[in-house]
C-alpha cells in the first residue's frame, strides 16, 4: 500500500524582550548561572507573576506576520507537572484561549507554493536548564540554572498540512525567516531560542482520516528535523507493512545513531491539569493595539522577494536566497542604494560574501565588508578600474583587513591596465615567445588563443583589461 505522511509541527521560539515574561529579570543569554533570577522566576513562596506587555506585543507581531486572528480576550493557565527545571512545578501557559489563532504561511517546495495552516500561537514561560556534572547518564546529580526560567516563549502550532520531511524543513526555514523579519526572536537553534517538536503519522494515500501519530522530540537543527522525520516515516511504514499498529507515543531523535527511540507511551502521558492561573488577570487586547502593531510591522519576506523580482529584476531564486534572512536583505538594500546594479550585488552577496561568512562563522551584520565598501568595489568594477578577477582578490583583502577597496587597489597597484600601448607591448612579447600556439591558432585551433590570453594576463599580473587583450591579440594573429 502507498502511504501518505502527515506532519504537524510545534515550534517554540524565545521572544527577544529585554526582560522575562512575568518578572523584571534580564533575558540576556550567556550570563553567569543563576544570576538573572529573582523571587518570581525562582518560584519562591509568596511571589507573584506580572505579565510583561512587551511579550504580548511580540506575540501579536508574530501572529500578524503569520496571518493570524488576534484574540480580544485571552488568558493564562497553569500547566501542572513536576520537573526540577520548573521551579513552581507548573508552567504558566495558555490552554484554550491563545493570543493568536487561524493563521498560515506559504512555503515553496520544488517550485510550487503551498499554504501551511497555523492553528494557534500562545505565550508561555520557558523552564530552566539542567546542568549535569558529567554526561546525562553518568551523573548521579544535576544542577539547575534558572537564568532561562521565565524567558518568554511563543509556541506556534501548525495544522497537520505538511506532507514531507522536506516540506517540514521548508516550513521551519520560512517560519524562522518571518520571526526574524518581525524582530521577535533570534531563532538560534544552537542557543535553544528556537525548538521544534513534530507530530507524524501515516495514512493510506488519499485517505481522509488520520493515522495514529507519534510525537518526535529532541531534534536540534532543521536538518535533524528533516532526518528525524524521514527516519520516523520509514519506521512507521515498516511497522504498517508488517501488519503492525503504530503506538501513540513520544519518541526522541537520537542524532548520533540516526534513529528515533520511544520515550513514553500514551498511558504514561501527563495529565497537566490545566486551569486558569488565579494570580493573573484575563488579557484583553484592544483592536487599536492590534492596528498599532500592524502598522509597525516591517516588509515581510514574501513581499520583499516580490519587490526584488519585480522592481530589481532579480530571478526568483536569487530573490529567495537574498530575502531568506532579513539581515542579508537589508544588506542588499543598503548596497543597492549606493550602486544600482541588482544582479551584480546579488551575485557578490550570494557568492564571495556567503563563502567568507560561512568559513568564518559570521553573520552578515558582522561582515568586515560594509555595504559602502561593497558598493565602491562594484563601482570600480563597473568603471573598469579593476577586472572581475582582481575584484575577487580585492574582496578577500577587504574581508581580511576591513580596508576600503580603493585603498587596496592603490596600495597593491591593482588598477586595471587599459592603456593600449602598454598592453600591445605585452601582447607582442607573448606572441614572440609562443610560436607554437600562434601556429596552432592560425591553423584553425581556436582554443589556442585562450592560452595566449592567459599568458598576457599572467605577465600583467592579472591587471590587463581582458577585453582589450582579446581584441589586440586577434588583431595581431
Amino acid at each position: 500500500m502507498k502511504y501518505e505522511i502527515v506532519i504537524g509541527l510545534e515550534v517554540h521560539a524565545e521572544l527577544k524582550t529585554n526582560s522575562k515574561i512575568f518578572c523584571g529579570c534580564s533575558t540576556h543569554f550567556g550570563a553567569e548561572q543563576n544570576t538573572n533570577v529573582c523571587p518570581v522566576c525562582l518560584g519562591l513562596p509568596g511571589s507573584l507573576p506580572v505579565l510583561n506587555q512587551r511579550a504580548v506585543e511580540f506575540a501579536i507581531r508574530a501572529g500578524l506576520a503569520l496571518n493570524c486572528e488576534i484574540a480580544e480576550f485571552s488568558k493564562f493557565d497553569r500547566k501542572n507537572y513536576y520537573y526540577p527545571d520548573l521551579p513552581k512545578d507548573y508552567q504558566i501557559s495558555q490552554y484554550d484561549l491563545p493570543v493568536c489563532k487561524n493563521g498560515y504561511l506559504d512555503i515553496e517546495v520544488n517550485g510550487e507554493t503551498k499554504r501551511i495552516g497555523i492553528t494557534r500561537i500562545h505565550l508561555e514561560e520557558d523552564a530552566g536548564k539542567l546542568v549535569h556534572p558529567q554526561t546525562i547518564t553518568t551523573s548521579n546529580y544535576a544542577y539547575v540554572d534558572y537564568n532561562r526560567t521565565g524567558v518568554p516563549l511563543v509556541e506556534i502550532v501548525s495544522e497537520p498540512d505538511i506532507r514531507t520531511p522536506e516540506e517540514a524543513r521548508a516550513y521551519l526555514t520560512k517560519l524562522r525567516s518571518i520571526l526574524e523579519y518581525c524582530d521577535v526572536s533570534d531563532c538560534k537553534m544552537e542557543e535553544g531560542s528556537l525548538r521544534c517538536d513534530a507530530n507524524i503519522s501515516l495514512r493510506p494515500a488519499g485517505a481522509d482520516y488520520f493515522g495514529t501519530k507519534a510525537e518526535l522530540k529532541n531534534m536540534n537543527s532543521f536538518k535533524a528535523v528533516q532526518k528525524g522525520l524521514e527516519y520516523e516515516a520509514m519506521r512507521q511504514e515498516d511497522v504498517l507493512a508488517d501488519g503492525g499498529a503504530i503506538r501513540q507515543e513520544t519518541r526522541t531523535w537520537d542524532e548520533a545513531r540516526g534513529v528515533t527511540l520511544s520515550m513514553r507511551s500514551k498511558e504514561q502521558a501527563h495529565d497537566y491539569r490545566y486551569f486558569p492561573d488565579p494570580d493573573l488577570v484575563p488579557l484583553l487586547i484592544s483592536r487599536e493595539q492590534v492596528e498599532e502593531v500592524r502598522t509597525s510591522l516591517p516588509e515581510l519576506p514574501d513581499a520583499r522577494k516580490d519587490r526584488l523580482v519585480e522592481q530589481d529584476g532579480l530571478s526568483s531564486y536569487d530573490a529567495e536566497v537574498i530575502t531568506a534572512s532579513r539581515a542579508v536583505a537589508d544588506y542588499y538594500d543598503a548596497v543597492k542604494k549606493l550602486v544600482d546594479d541588482p544582479k551584480t550585488i546579488a551575485n557578490w552577496i550570494m557568492g564571495d560574501m556567503m563563502k567568507q561568512l560561512n568559513t568564518r562563522g559570521l553573520s552578515i551584520t558582522a561582515s568586515p565588508v560594509t555595504p559602502v565598501h561593497l558598493a565602491e568595489m562594484i563601482q570600480l568594477l563597473n568603471k573598469g578600474t579593476i577586472s572581475g578577477k582582481i575584484a575577487k582578490n580585492v574582496f578577500e583583502e577587504m574581508f581580511v583587513s576591513g580596508k576600503k577597496p580603493a585603498e587596496i587597489v592603490k596600495e597593491q597597484g591593482l588598477v586595471q591596465i587599459s592603456d593600449e600601448s602598454a598592453i600591445i607591448a605585452i601582447v607582442e612579447q607573448v606572441i614572440a615567445a609562443n610560436p607554437q600556439s600562434v601556429a596552432d591558432f592560425r591553423a584553425g585551433k581556436e582554443k589556442a588563443i585562450g592560452f595566449l590570453v592567459g599568458q598576457v594576463m599572467k605577465q600583467s599580473k592579472g591587471r590587463a583589461n581582458p577585453e582589450m587583450v582579446n581584441k589586440l591579440l586577434k588583431e595581431r594573429l
Partner: protein, 487 residues
C-alpha cells in the same frame, strides 16, 4: 494599666507626647511574651532583637522631632505565612521549617516604612488550612479565654497574641474565614478586606483567588489604622486593584442612622448554638436602637458555598503547593532518584490536612473530572456572588454570626474534618464573593467565651463596615480582656 494593654491609637498618642518610649513599649510586650507565650503558644518565632532595634530607630525619630506614622513604634505580630526578609517564614509546616525569605511581602515593606515594631511571627494551621491551629506542624495555640480551647484558625496565633496582649495588633490572612473566625473565638476585631484591596505579594499562597491579608486588632479604630497602612495598589500583584485606598480612619463615625441591615436567614440555621444566635440578634438590635433598620433577607445559594469552596480552594492549593518539591529550598527527603526524592520530601514534609486538600484538588482538576468539579464549583461561585450582588441592591450591610459556635476544645473536632470545615460555614461565602467582612465581639457565652458578629458589605465598602462596627463598639460594652483561664 500595663503598657502592653493599650491599643495602637492610644499608644501612638502616648509616643508622640513622649509619655512612653518605643523601647519601653517593646520591652513591655516582649516581657509579656516571655511570661505568657509558653502557655498561649501563639508565636512560632519571636524577633526580640529586631524589635528592639526598630523601637530604637523610632525613639530616635521622636527625639529628632520627626513626625512618626500612626503604627510607628507599636509592637505587631505577623502571621507566619507572610514573607519577612531574613526571618524564618514557616507556614507552620515542616516543609518550610527553615525557610528564610530573601524578600519582604509588600505589606511588610509598607509596615517597615511605617516603622512598625515586629515582635514575632505567629502560628497557623499548616499553610493556612484549618480552623483551629491544630494543623500546625509545630504546636497548637491556646485560646487566651480558656487554654483548653482552640483560638480558631488558621490565623489562630495572630488572634491569640492580640487577645493576650502579646502584641498590640497582628496581621492574619483569610481564605475562608481565617481572620474572622479566630477573631470571634478570641474576642478581637478581625477584618477580611475586599479581594484585591491588600497586596498578596509575599503572602504564601493557599488559594490565590480567595486569599487576602487583613488586620486583627483590639478595637475597630486600630483596625482602620492597620487597614490604612497595608492597603493600596501594588504593581507586583496583578490581582491588586488599581485604585488608591481611602483614609479608613475617616470612617470611624458613630452613626448608623438609616443604615439598612439585611439579616440572611440561611445563616441562622437549626443546630446553630443558641447563645451565638441570641448574641448576634441582640447585636443587630443594638444597631437598630442607633437608628439602623434591619430585616430578613435570603441568600439562596449559601448551602452550596462550602462544597464549592472545598473544590476551588484545594484545586488552587494543589498547584500552589506543588513547588515544595525539595529541589531548591525547604525540606528535602532523600531519594535514589528525582521521583523518589519528590515523594519522600512531600510525604515527610506535609501534614495530613495539607495532603488531604492536595489530593482533593488534584482530583478536581484531573482530566475527566474538571467539568464535574472545578468548573461546576466556579459556576456555583458565580451564583453565590450574585446572591450578594442582589442583596446589596437593597441593604448596606449584612449581619451574621462569624462562626456557628464559640471556641471549641482542643481535640474536640479533630477526628472529623467535615465537622471542622463547618466552623467556616458563615465566612466562606464572603471569600467566594470577594467582598469584605469584619468580625467583632458581640457577646459572651455563659462559660465566658467571646462570640463574634460578622458585618458584610459589598466590594470596597470597608468604610461602611468600619463605621457600623465602630458605632456598635461605641454603644456597647463587649471589649473585654480575656480571663487567661488555665495560665
Amino acid at each position: 494599666m500595663k503598657l502592653y494593654e493599650y491599643t495602637a491609637h492610644q499608644l501612638h498618642t502616648m509616643l508622640t507626647e513622649k509619655k512612653v518610649s518605643a523601647r519601653e513599649l517593646a520591652e513591655s510586650t516582649l516581657q509579656r511574651v516571655r511570661n505568657l507565650d509558653e502557655n498561649i503558644k501563639g508565636y512560632v518565632t519571636v524577633t526580640a532583637e529586631q524589635a528592639l532595634a526598630q523601637a530604637k530607630a523610632v525613639d530616635e525619630k521622636i527625639a529628632r522631632g520627626e513626625e512618626i506614622a500612626p503604627l510607628a513604634g507599636i509592637p505587631m505580630a505577623i502571621k507566619d505565612n507572610i514573607c519577612t526578609t531574613g526571618i524564618k517564614t514557616t507556614c507552620s509546616s515542616k516543609i518550610l521549617a527553615n525557610f528564610v525569605p530573601p524578600y519582604d511581602a509588600t505589606v511588610m515593606q509598607k509596615l517597615q516604612a511605617a516603622d512598625g515594631v515586629l515582635i514575632g511571627k505567629t502560628n497557623l494551621d499548616e499553610f493556612a488550612m484549618g480552623s483551629s491551629t491544630e494543623n500546625s506542624a509545630f504546636f497548637t495555640t491556646s485560646n487566651p479565654w480558656d487554654l483548653e480551647r482552640v483560638p480558631g484558625g488558621s490565623s489562630g496565633g495572630s488572634a491569640a497574641v492580640v487577645a493576650a496582649d502579646e502584641a498590640v495588633w497582628a496581621l492574619g490572612s483569610d481564605t475562608g474565614g481565617s481572620i474572622r473566625q479566630p477573631a470571634a473565638y478570641c474576642g478581637v476585631v478581625g477584618l477580611k478586606p475586599t479581594y484585591g484591596r491588600v497586596s498578596r505579594y509575599g503572602l504564601i499562597a493557599y488559594a490565590s483567588s480567595l486569599d487576602q491579608i487583613g488586620p486583627l486588632t483590639k478595637d475597630v479604630t486600630d483596625c482602620a489604622f492597620v487597614l490604612k497602612a497595608i492597603s493600596g495598589h501594588d504593581p507586583k500583584d496583578s490581582t491588586s486593584v488599581n485604585s488608591a485606598a481611602p483614609d479608613y480612619t475617616k470612617a470611624l463615625v458613630n452613626d448608623v442612622k438609616g443604615l439598612r441591615i439585611g439579616v440572611p436567614r440561611e445563616f441562622f440555621v437549626a443546630g446553630m448554638d443558641e447563645e451565638v444566635r441570641a448574641a448576634v440578634m441582640a447585636g443587630i438590635e443594638a444597631l437598630v436602637r442607633q437608628g439602623a433598620v434591619a430585616e430578613e433577607v435570603s441568600l439562596p445559594h449559601t448551602d452550596y458555598a462550602m462544597p464549592a469552596y472545598y473544590v476551588i480552594a484545594p484545586a488552587e492549593a494543589s498547584s500552589n503547593l506543588a513547588r515544595y518539591d525539595g529541589v531548591s529550598y525547604g525540606y528535602r527527603g532523600e531519594g535514589d532518584d528525582i521521583v523518589a526524592m519528590y515523594k519522600r520530601t512531600r510525604t515527610e514534609g506535609f501534614g495530613a490536612e495539607v495532603k488531604r486538600r492536595i489530593l482533593l484538588g488534584t482530583y478536581a482538576l484531573s482530566s475527566g473530572y474538571y467539568d464535574a468539579y472545578y468548573l461546576k464549583a466556579l459556576k456555583v461561585r458565580t451564583l453565590v456572588k450574585q446572591d450578594y450582588d442582589r442583596a446589596f441592591e437593597k441593604y448596606d450591610v449584612l449581619i451574621t454570626p462569624t462562626a456557628p459556635s464559640a471556641a471549641f476544645k482542643i481535640g474536640e473536632k479533630s477526628a472529623d474534618p467535615i465537622e471542622l470545615y463547618l466552623q467556616d460555614v458563615c465566612t466562606i461565602p464572603i471569600n467566594l464573593a470577594g467582598i469584605p467582612g469584619i468580625s467583632l465581639p458581640c457577646g459572651y457565652t455563659r462559660s465566658g467565651l467571646p462570640i463574634g458578629m460578622q458585618i458584610i458589605g459589598q466590594a470596597f465598602s470597608e468604610e461602611t463596615l468600619l463605621r457600623v462596627a465602630y458605632t456598635f463598639e461605641q454603644n456597647t460594652d463587649f471589649r473585654r480582656k480575656p480571663s487567661l483561664k488555665g495560665v
